[in-house]
């Protein structure tokens, strides 16, 4: 069971990859939920359940579990958009499929050692904090196909809506993280790069949602600000954890 539980992950990786390749070579029109992508998500969900059972804690700890759960969240939000027919065209679908295939490979290449259930992780606040944060990252991620497509002016309100969902979930995740930290670490706030950048991401998206009210920003400038928001999100999630010493470090 200790290694067999990885099988659904590798099957999911195969399906994410197959979905992307089918789209590149001609099946681009199929919605995500009616393709290999949906199967990949199903297998990935099974993997998460098995990993949870094996490790005894929510599979959010360490580089592999973290990338896997970010990928699962992004796939989930992509599927929601697909079901609601809100993915911006074939290119947008191709982008989301390729993005998830890429991250499934990143996950596969990450060390998969299991971290035991240490006492400080034995709380619902940990699970709520991480789950909300990753689904919020996913909402911020799915703005990318809109930002990369032509005619941002017509799509801006959709980007705004997705960013607001991401911001709302991230806010709730920060609150849950603060409560967890207060009960576990001795304070709701500690001065590490992860906490600082989480605050940066939160304030940035909060202020970004005001950008449209500023008359002097053209749609192209606002597109750039949203793209920077995605960059800040990725730095908060992966950059800080991989490059800097922090409370959430993968190093």
């Amino acid at each position: 069971m200790e290694t067999a539980h990885l099988i659904p992950y590798f099957l999911a990786l195969f399906c994410y990859g197959a979905d992307f390749l089918f789209r590149v070579f001609g099946e681009g029109g199929k919605p995500l939920h009616r393709s290999f992508f949906g199967a990949a998500f199903f297998l990935h969900t099974i993997f998460l359940a098995l990993r949870w059972r094996v490790t005894g804690h929510a599979p959010f700890v360490g580089m592999f579990e973290s990338v896997s759960f970010y990928l699962w969240s992004t796939a989930l939000v992509s599927l929601i958009l697909s079901i609601r027919k809100a993915v911006p065209g074939e290119k947008g679908t191709l982008f989301l499929s390729g993005y998830c295939a890429l991250f499934s490979v990143v996950g596969a290449l990450s060390p998969k050692a299991m971290v035991p259930k240490i006492p400080v992780l034995d709380t619902r606040w940990f699970e709520i904090h991480v789950a909300l944060s990753f689904v919020s990252y996913a909402y911020m991620t799915v703005t990318l196909p809109y930002l990369l497509s032509r005619g941002f002016r017509e799509k801006e309100e959709q980007v705004e809506a997705l960013a607001f969902y991401g911001f709302t979930l991230f806010s709730a995740g920060m609150v849950a993280g603060g409560i967890w930290a207060y009960f576990a670490w001795g304070s709701y706030w500690i001065w590490t790069p992860k906490e600082v950048f989480s605050a940066v991401l939160w304030v940035y998206y909060g202020t970004l949602l005001h950008a449209k009210m500023v008359g002097r920003f053209s749609p192209e400038v606002r597109r750039g600000l949203y793209a920077l928001g995605y960059g800040i999100m990725m730095f908060t999630y992966l950059g800080v954890s991989l490059l800097l010493k922090s409370s959430h470090s993968f190093r």
Binding site: K85, E160, M174, F183, V196, F217
Partner: protein, 254 residues
């Protein structure tokens, strides 16, 4: 003067603060990582005490970026307070609907979080890394308590890591027991405004068991919590009462 007022209450300043927060936060994070020695004692004392000590020791690049970060927070908070102050009277006078008040509920919430944190940073307490042997006591000075570790249980789980630990403690002031209870990870012991955390426990080579504690006091924590919950409420209200075209646009695909 009017133009200055318009600027200081404007969304332009709000967005500028977002970008300023990003830039100062980026440099601060790099210094937190690259100059760990400079920040090593930041958690073991109150922020205000730490800042006073660093300013007295002379200005340095990490300190300048730290102060810049705090300055952006201050300007951002001022912007929120003045924006809400500027709009609120008009909204009340016009008897606007709830939706128009929601952004200001969120502004007030952020101000509460900052204010609560400022209170904790200036008038809280931090006593870090108090080691106590089982059956022994340690005298603390602020507050003037003696912390006794009556016993500590450590449960070893899968792969040899501690799965759980619990410390039973007694707190005395001038020989009189003021509190008795237990603490474990994620379940601190609340005593008279202070919070006692069990940070670690183990067995010394001599066979004696010990526990390591932190004692903190964050008087602003309830205000921070109220602010955080109010902000979450504001966010939810915004989703429940969206702008007329919000959901329509979110659904409109392609």
């Amino acid at each position: 003067m009017r133009r200055f007022w318009e600027f200081i209450t404007s969304p332009l300043l709000c967005v500028a603060c977002g970008i300023g927060f990003f830039l100062s936060g980026l440099f601060l994070s790099l210094f937190l990582d690259g100059a760990p020695g400079y920040f090593e004692d930041i958690e073991s004392s109150l922020l205000l005490t730490w800042l006073r000590g660093k300013v007295a020791a002379g200005f340095s690049l990490p300190l300048i970026f730290f102060l810049l970060f705090l300055l952006v927070v201050a300007v951002f908070t001022l912007n929120l307070v003045l924006c809400t102050g500027d709009h609120l009277t008009g909204l009340v006078r016009r008897r606007s609907g709830l939706r128009r008040f929601i952004p200001h509920i969120m502004h007030v919430a952020v101000v509460l979080v900052v204010a609560g944190h400022a209170v904790s940073a200036s008038s809280g307490a931090r006593v870090k890394g108090v080691g106590v042997l089982e059956g022994r006591g340690v005298r603390l000075f602020a507050p003037a308590w003696t912390l006794y570790l009556e016993d500590v249980d450590i449960e070893v789980g899968k792969w040899g890591y501690p799965a759980d630990m619990v410390a039973h403690v007694k707190i005395q002031a001038e020989g009189v027991t003021v509190a008795r209870g237990s603490t474990r990870p994620n379940e601190p012991f609340f005593v008279d405004g202070y919070v006692l955390y069990l940070k670690n426990a183990g067995v010394l080579p001599s066979g004696a068991r010990y526990a390591l504690f932190d004692l903190t006091r964050d008087p602003g924590a309830p205000v921070v919590l109220i602010g955080a919950l109010l902000f979450t409420l504001g966010n939810l209200l915004y989703l429940l009462f969206p702008a007329r075209n919000f959901r329509k646009n979110e659904r409109r695909g392609k």
